[in-house]
Subunit: 113 residues, 2 copies
């Protein structure tokens, strides 16, 4: 039985939110704790309007939470789980790099013989 494509679509959408470098940068800047928009802009070096749009997308996806406090608005990671995801992928990618350099070494050995 093929999985219901409707459920798969939600998974795809979730991955899509995490598939932009700028959004990952915003998330990483929030890893150390709640920050307001200005702080996020400073830490990431992204444009103000751009950060605002990304934060909206992240909030709609339920990945960050939004809480106005005084003049400014603070954002916070609502699903720390995303860092597990990113780590899993990162580990897999570095594992792959290691394997590749290992194979290169073996090729070198063959060439010298």
């Amino acid at each position: 039985m093929p999985l219901p494509p409707a459920a798969l679509a939600h998974v795809a959408d979730y991955f899509k939110v995490l598939s932009e470098l700028s959004r990952l940068q915003v998330l990483c800047s929030l890893k150390s704790g709640s920050k307001n928009v200005t702080e996020i802009i400073e830490e990431t070096g992204l444009g103000q309007a751009n950060v605002s749009k990304h934060l909206k997308i992240l909030a709609q996806a339920g990945i960050v939470s939004r809480t106005p406090r005084g003049v400014s608005v603070y954002y916070e990671i609502a699903e720390p789980f995303i860092f597990d995801l990113c780590e899993l992928v990162g580990d897999r990618l570095s594992l792959r790099l290691e394997e590749q350099s290992q194979q290169l070494k073996q090729l070198e050995g063959l060439r010298r013989a």
Copy 2:
């Protein structure tokens, strides 16, 4: 110390490959084992050229492997790890749905009182 954006970019690219419904459908059709392109087309209902392009992207990302056999070309999951990723996200999404329906029930209770 902010993570090197270069590493983050690779993570984002990996998520991007998984962020398309059609590609997830192709991957799911390969979950039960190696299949040739025609079989993938039949199981997913996607167009031939479209499937071919998606398979190329998946192969370049190292997620599937390509092995010509006789007349046809067989593709196979090279990183079963992706199904773990999809399951993690799927579980998280259904958990969220559960929480939401739970909250709805509590609201109903309040309304009746």
